[in-house]
Amino acid sequence: MAHTPQPTKDGTTPVSAAAAAAPSFTGALVTRAGRASKASAGLLGLAVLVLAALPYIAFAGTTSSMVTFFVLLIMASMWNLLAGFGGMVSVGQQAFVGVGAYTVLAFANLGMNPFVALPLAALTCAVFAIPTSWLAFRLRGDYFAVGTWVIAEVYRLIIIRFDSLGGPSGMSLPGLTGMDPVLRGALTYWAALTLAALTILGCYLLMRGRTGLALTAVRDDETAARANGVDVTWSKRLVYLVSAAGCGAAGGILIIDSLSVQPNAIFSVQWSAYMIFIVIIGGIGYLEGPLLGAIVFYALQQLLAGYGSWYMIILGAIGVAGAIWLPRGLWGTITNKTGIQLFPVGYRLNQPWTLPPTLR
């Protein structure tokens, strides 16, 4: 494990876990969560509670469009974990979105309730991700990206050969058609909300722990991390599996929400485009990034929905500009200026004179 302190991007000095546990004699304060983080954690918990009550107070149309938001949030968080923390830029995560959706379909065809099949979709994707990672990890950097894309295409081309899963034209999902639409809408909404909350909490816990430290070391300098004893391949594979599972669950929600699946749509590279856009705009490598990015993306989507392909052109242009001129995204810029962290995963050395004026 690498416990070597490395200066982070924002200039604060992260202190190793051992040093954090030791009593401090210098009067400096080694902290993880600042006052703002604790307040925001409370606010986030409150927000989840309010969102959970939404089906009782809002129209079905609102909750239905919120499902899309949660799905995008899950996918983007998973892509952020992969690229922002694991250093693996993939344009092939739609492989697992598709496999997740088709897993739900397969179990529903066998008579299982699709909602019960959701965790199985995540599990199946994690299992599929093991052989996938053997192949994809042969490639590095840019070539990893295109390689994952090819693998996603292979999954699509294999799945459309199964006539029992609808073949090339897709299939509608059995098992939910008899259910009251309002109840089904609310259940879908709660499932999406639960998964989104679990995803964010899971990312936070993963990045706080030993794996998070190892991953950060790998991302910053793979060779140095390896020399310090980090099991680089294992850490990367773990992140890859978690990310696949998350995307699989998101795919499962998609098929439950639309009650049908179409292979070209569910395996579309567009999902990767959305994930990448959200993470880049929000801030890559920050757990808060996908949350902020998904809100911005969702707002843009509502705003530009009537403009057809111009909408994608504008998204592409914003993505290009963001990648060049705002590499840390919106959240990175905010946290740099204010020092606020919603999900503190590192340790900070807070000395009274280094605190920003607002926190003194």
Binding site: A83, V89, V91, W134, L135, R138, L139, G141, D142, Y143, A145, V146, G147, W149, V150, I151, E153, V154, L157, I158, R161, V269, A273, I276, I280, I284, G308, S309, W310, M312, I313, L315, G316, A317, G319, V320, G322, A323, I324, P327
Partner: protein, 288 residues
């Protein structure tokens, strides 16, 4: 005889893939970057030729002669304005910029030309063929594409090994900092590599647009075939790319012979097999 025909068709298809892949191989060899908009640029070239042929009285050869240098100039400009900035920011930024470009191009073409499929009419080139006997025929277009692929790859190889600019480009590829000490301008040289890549992919797009129909959404598929040819052949090796294109073309042709619905999947599976068992490619080489 049937087998021989499949072999010939596969080789000619491989020539087209190699022509697509040459630009990808050059850009990876010189600056270790992958342009995710590579296939979409080929589609843009095909549409440009279509528009020029329809809107002006220019003959086909003149349109092609105008389009290729135009693409090279665009490539140079895009490199100096976008790619050089993103290369400085790191590999992640380059991928995101080219992916964004790909989305912009696809949707821009969709807005301008709709999703209808088109074909470039090259007259006798589209339809003509050498009929060697009643089972084996070699189309003019397929043969021309294969010849062009070999000529482009040989030409770029000669350029890199013989000319001063080509040698400087290899030096910059090996070690940009040291090369700059002896006067190499890496930004300019990288932009020239991009210009060559844009010019060759435009040619590939035009040949492909005459061979089969195209629409704004086929760019990613062409990128993937080109990428597979590069990886099968061996990263950063131009002759390897030609071999990789041939392997991919032959695989697809023989798979199509067995079951047309297996064509694309068989190509992908050969690519994955190469990744699993021979990740360095057929002709491993690190220098261009």
């Amino acid at each position: 005889m049937d087998l021989l025909n499949t072999l010939v068709q596969g080789l000619m298809l491989g020539g087209l893939y190699a022509l697509f892949a040459a630009g990808l191989s050059i850009m990876f060899g010189v600056m270790r970057m992958v342009n995710l908009a590579h296939g979409d640029l080929a589609v843009v070239a095909a549409y440009l030729v279509l528009v020029l042929l329809g809107g002006t009285m220019f003959p086909l050869w003149l349109v092609v002669v105008v389009t290729l240098p135009l693409f090279a100039v665009i490539g140079y400009g895009i490199h100096r304005s976008l790619f050089s900035r993103s290369l400085k920011a790191g590999p992640l930024s380059t991928l995101l910029v080219t992916f964004g470009l790909s989305i912009i191009i696809q949707n821009g073409l969709l807005e301008g030309f709709s999703a209808d499929t088109r074909t470039i009419d090259m007259g006798v080139l589209n339809t003509g063929a050498f009929h060697l006997n009643n089972q084996l025929s070699i189309s003019y277009l397929g043969l021309l594409t294969l010849v062009l692929a070999v000529a482009v790859i040989a030409g770029v190889q000669l350029f890199l090994s013989r000319t001063r600019t080509g040698k400087m480009m290899r030096a910059v590829s090996d070690d940009a900092d040291t090369a700059s000490l002896v006067g190499a301008n890496s930004k300019h040289l990288y932009a020239i590599a991009t210009a060559i890549a844009f010019g060759t992919v435009a040619l590939a797009g035009i040949m492909s647009g005459a061979r089969s129909s195209f629409d704004p959404s086929i760019g990613p598929a062409q990128l993937i075939f080109a990428f597979e040819a590069v990886v099968i052949g061996g990263l950063g090796s131009l002759w390897g790319t030609l071999a990789g294109g041939a392997v991919l073309g032959l695989t697809q042709a023989f798979a199509a012979h067995l079951d047309p619905s297996l064509t694309i999947l068989a190509g992908h599976l050969v690519f994955l097999a190469v990744l699993a068992f021979r990740p360095q490619g057929l002709i491993p080489q690190r220098t261009v």
